[in-house]
Symmetry: C2
Subunit: 679 residues, 2 copies
């Protein structure tokens, strides 16, 4: 038996690899969602920060590169490569800016860098005074072996090899040579990820936007002599848009606009029986006038909706509709598609319930129906119907009570056709379900922010949102909704509204308010212990006087203006909390990875009843600033300018009786003798 035969036999027994594997290991760190089972979320024209662990045995130098490409319609563009930077401890980072919507993918390459290893060695040995004669020859051979495929690089490499032969080390420090080596040096055997990792690139509004919710029927036409007061319509809602645009909001979101059922309609303040004239809940969808593809005749027509959408766009606003996949007993589907609903042995349709709670005015759809294919197609068709009428943003009601695989299928196929769609998940449910909805495709998610009120619990929650879930769950922070008037807002007065708005607008790349009620500080619950509003607009028409002197409109406008001016506020992944020695205060910062604009630092007092003083211990490096310098802090909210020292803790004092937060932009101070330190 020859040596070769012997090796082959032994190799079979012991499964020796067919070719020598790379000594380098590449392990993905982020962005990655369940090992690549779901795409990570990214935003067009916004930097994607990629991190990986890349390392090998021993002391050789390792080099890593990020490669990315867009996947459009199965036709692959080539890969673009960017070198990665070592962050220490075997972690490498690079970033790129996707320039188009749609499906992208990335991978990471790692290899032993022979030239860098040699370079590091000869430098260290020279510095140590060792004889490096032989190392010069090692370097010369390394350079000679590099195969360059264009003339200039060939010459650069040859010249450097000659210089080494003459004992001149300086030549190998030239950027031109290093570039030629990087371009042509052997990388085989190369280490890479098991498979490229998927990204879904969406538009800026997917990540970053300010939402404003209102009920069109509450854009009441005031009573005038001779003509009675009339409930608002889609047409009268146009008159509200300048007000909303003036406050700097980006997205106008309407509760469902469909015909409302009459059977078992709820009355004012959720009364079990409606009184004559009660308009019913917009979420009780469907009447003989139509279902999810129709417009409530009391609100107007589809043309009115198209006109409202156009009026929004004229003002730089975007219109979002509410999609609630449930039916009133009068919905046409109940008779047209009885198999889409569960029936009880007595022949009745199964109403919604969470035993012992009963929602007899609502019929849930049966996602496990034998006719699930037609049902799923019809539901997807609701989206395409409104997409065909120009809508691109949807707030989805209670998606956690609908089958998760339905959402994965519907959203994925819709996004593949229309990559500019936005789906906001209104799932106030358990964390795993909320997270899964985000993974299967929902663009944004309502969160527990509404109930996180202490400084420590806000910090804990946002360290999770900016950490483990940041690659797939984009929070949209709402201080209130038509369903949720928190005890904090009920009892803590204007300071609570102000602080919650500041937190939502600066912690969240996306935030929103249930508009008129928030602007006007509406705080009356339907009864003690309830989070429902008294005279909830869900069940009745409300007339709001938006010009009240106490309105928060100016504050909201200022917050949204700061958001537009500061690119750092578009990000969640750079959120960093800083030390503060008072449990009522919260200090956090955001930066833009591409360095557009200044870092933003927020210090907020979450006690709405007492003023608090504290010293803050800012991690200036986390702001991308040198430590120990002097910094200029401009409070974009309050207007004042401060100078803080990086050598000391700095002092803040925040009172609920003015605005209880600073929203600073931070830069290095010019050395200005005589400037005062204050906070």
């Amino acid at each position: 038996m020859t040596a070769t035969t012997h090796t082959r036999a032994a190799a079979e027994v012991t499964a020796l690899p067919a070719t020598r594997p790379s000594r380098v290991v590449v392990e993905p760190v982020r962005p990655v969602v369940d090992g690549g089972r779901f795409p990570a979320k990214a935003t067009v024209d916004e930097p994607v920060v990629v991190e990986a662990d890349v390392f090998a045995d021993g002391h050789d130098q390792v080099t890593a590169a990020l490669r990315y490409r867009r996947l459009d319609d199965g036709q692959d563009r080539g890969w673009t490569e960017v070198p990665m930077t070592s962050l220490g401890n075997d972690r490498w980072q690079a970033r790129f800016v996707p320039d188009q919507l749609g499906r992208w993918e990335y991978t990471v390459h790692g290899w032993i860098d022979q030239f860098a290893s040699w370079h590091h060695g000869i430098r260290a040995k020279s510095f140590d005074g060792q004889d490096v004669t032989v190392e010069y020859e090692v370097g010369r051979r390394l350079l000679s072996q590099i195969q360059a495929d264009h003339d200039r690089d060939r010459r650069v490499l040859a010249d450097a090899a000659d210089a080494l032969a003459r004992g001149e080390l300086g030549a190998v420090d030239q950027p031109e040579l290093l570039a030629a080596v990087a371009r042509h040096q052997q990388r085989e055997p190369l280490a890479t990820l098991a498979a490229p990792l998927p990204l879904r690139v969406e538009r800026l509004r997917a990540q970053f936007g300010a939402w404003y919710e209102f009920f069109p029927r509450s854009t009441v036409t005031p009573a005038r002599p001779g003509s009675p007061q009339r409930p608002g319509t889609l047409a009268s809602a146009v008159g509200r848009l300048d007000h909303i645009a003036g406050m700097g909001f980006d997205i106008v979101y309407l509760p469902p606009i469909h015909p409302i059922g009459a059977t078992r309609r709820k009355g004012r303040d959720n009364a079990v029986e409606a009184a004559p004239g009660d308009p019913g809940s917009p979420w009780g969808i469907g009447s003989p006038a139509g279902g999810h593809t129709a417009v409530d005749p009391d609100l107007g027509t589809i043309d009115d909706l198209v006109a409202l959408n156009a009026a929004c766009r004229e003002r730089g606003l975007e219109l979002a509709l509410d999609i609630a996949f449930q039916c009133s007993p009068d919905h046409p589907w109940v008779s047209e598609h009885p198999t889409w609903f569960r029936h009880r042995p007595d022949g009745s349709v199964q109403y919604a319930e969470n035993p012992p709670k009963r929602y007899q005015d609502i019929y849930p759809l049966d996602f496990e129906s034998d006719d699930w294919r037609h049902l799923w197609l019809a539901l997807r068709g609701v989206f395409t119907h409104w997409i065909d009428h120009g809508i691109r943003a949807f707030r989805v009601d209670n998606p956690h009570t609908k089958a998760l695989p339905f959402w994965e299928w519907a959203i994925t196929t819709l996004l593949d056709e229309h990559p500019d769609l936005i789906f906001l998940s209104e799932a106030f449910t358990r964390p795993r379900v909320m997270q899964r909805l985000a993974k299967v495709g929902f663009t944004q998610s309502y969160t527990y922010f509404t109930w996180r009120q202490n400084a420590w619990e806000l910090r804990e929650y946002f360290e999770e949102l900016a950490g483990p879930t940041v690659d797939f769950l984009r929070p949209n922070l709402w201080p209130n909704t038509p369903d949720i008037l928190t005890a904090e807002l009920q009892t803590s007065g204007r300071p609570a509204f102000v602080t919650r708005a500041v937190l939502a607008a600066t912690l969240g790349p996306s935030w929103g308010v249930y508009g008129p009620a928030f602007e006007l500080g509406e705080h009356r619950p339907v009864r003690a212990g309830s989070e429902e509003y008294l005279h909830s607009e869900k069940y009745e028409v409300r007339e709001w006087d938006l010009d009240q002197p106490g309105s928060l409109a100016r504050l909201l406008g200022r917050l949204n203006r700061i958001r537009r001016n500061e690119p750092a506020l578009r990000r969640l992944d750079t959120l960093h909390f800083h030390g503060v020695d008072n449990p009522w205060l919260l200090a956090y910062s955001k930066t833009d990875p591409a360095g557009r604009g200044d870092p933003v630092l927020v210090v907020a007092n979450v006690d709405h009843h007492e003023a608090h003083a504290a010293t803050v211990d800012i991690d200036w490096a986390a702001l991308g600033l040198p430590t120990g310098a002097r910094y200029r802090l401009v409070d974009q909210l309050g207007g004042a300018t401060y100078e803080w020292s990086g050598r000391d803790r700095n002092h803040v004092h925040l009172s609920p009786w003015s605005v209880s937060a600073h929203v600073f932009t931070v830069s290095l101070a010019e050395p200005e003798p005589g400037s005062e330190s204050h906070g």
Copy 2:
């Protein structure tokens, strides 16, 4: 176009799933290593705790089951199923005890439990006083639809259905019925993991053992009148075994036993040149007498090793060899296989270096050699050689300077043939590399424990070891090694040795000492600022008087006895830290998931210079005990018994001048009037 054709066409466009997917999601939590790329580690006859997130949309009840099986030689045994228990928040848990070594796998099944959902609903509605007539009929139909394949279950189901028809609800609470439903209820469509997750089941010593290292050549035959003192041999080392077994150690580990090179041999205290008669370092492997498969003639023969191994086994000990894949310049491979080494342009063999450091007495092997196949096979052959001579445990020297893919291939193929092998990785290197070595197959790892000395850093480090890495990295804790005499041991006297031993023996399922030097409290460094021992045994023969009165042998024996008595100390995954209001103290507990033995609670003072008092805030639930009770704590180290109250914080006082730690077993106290509370 018919409706069916329409649907089919639409389904193609929108990629509607071929069959209706399960509404349930199953996401693995643990044990899982890199999504299944590597097997998680488990131990025969020790419970494996499996956790998964299992959930669905809406309010239906979900049920989950764990399924596991052994994979032996490609022939699959059937799956065994155990029901999982809900831990709340969508997390489910089950455990099983693998009964054989080798490769196993597990998966998790999840499904909507129609019967449980109905049962929950009818109970809640009845309690609420609602009319449940229709629900009885729903339940009857559910039971009637269940297809049972054996007679008794069919009868049980039919009887219960009849009872429901009569309006009797009690029948559906019977365990016999619930078992029949569980056995036969429809689970389709079923949710499961994308693929089963691999486990490698190893023997108890892989997870749990006490190691003792000594140099056979230091088992010196004392000088007697008429015969000179002679260095020890493998034969004389047998005389040391009773002492080691008497202290309760499990594994005896010897530094390399191979012929030692003469060329560039290091002298005493690492002198660059050896003096005549200097024995050289056992890690300078290879001489004309042989290489990695030979025994140093000064130590004896292979037969002597086999005899030593047998002598170990007679005493319940196991022998571990040190495998160091590096060569002295005199190693036979240097001339027989020149291509296994790198050569410099001047023709010399490249010695080991970490520029500017040089190790000219050591030639590293070139894992990227063109002849890598023969090299890898030869290295694997070193293991099989010693395996053939009865060795099953190997301590591997500096594996992080050898190619990682080599280890993955070698260890995997060796374990497939010999599932009882143990490989201890001596990689004091960066975390990612250390972790990767554990992932690719090393059974156990040396750790940073040696340098974690403050209470907070011990807690932080062990929360990582018992958390993110617990499924693949099994720490083996060494207070000292022949290479590492920490500053703490140099300067803090006996209390440091005692406390480090207690921490290592109770924090680590595996621990070890470099024996004689530790027992005798050897603390002299070769020079100030060095972690090397003065008169290191690496370079000279030492004679130890193990019968010194100050020896720690009794303490080590007591620690190992506690370890053998308390199954909780076999585990790392149940490690839990408790509150203590003094930064010098550490309080932690371990429990056995199968409930064998009592929980163990350790309170240790890591200040070797001062006594400290503190109150401890024990999380009794983490010990599996009811909170607010009275507990009996027996200090297995100190011997005293205490009674602690679950309603108060309890007091401890620990002084370095006695044993500065309690190692309690904890149980519920009998209500004994007059018993004292004290700590």
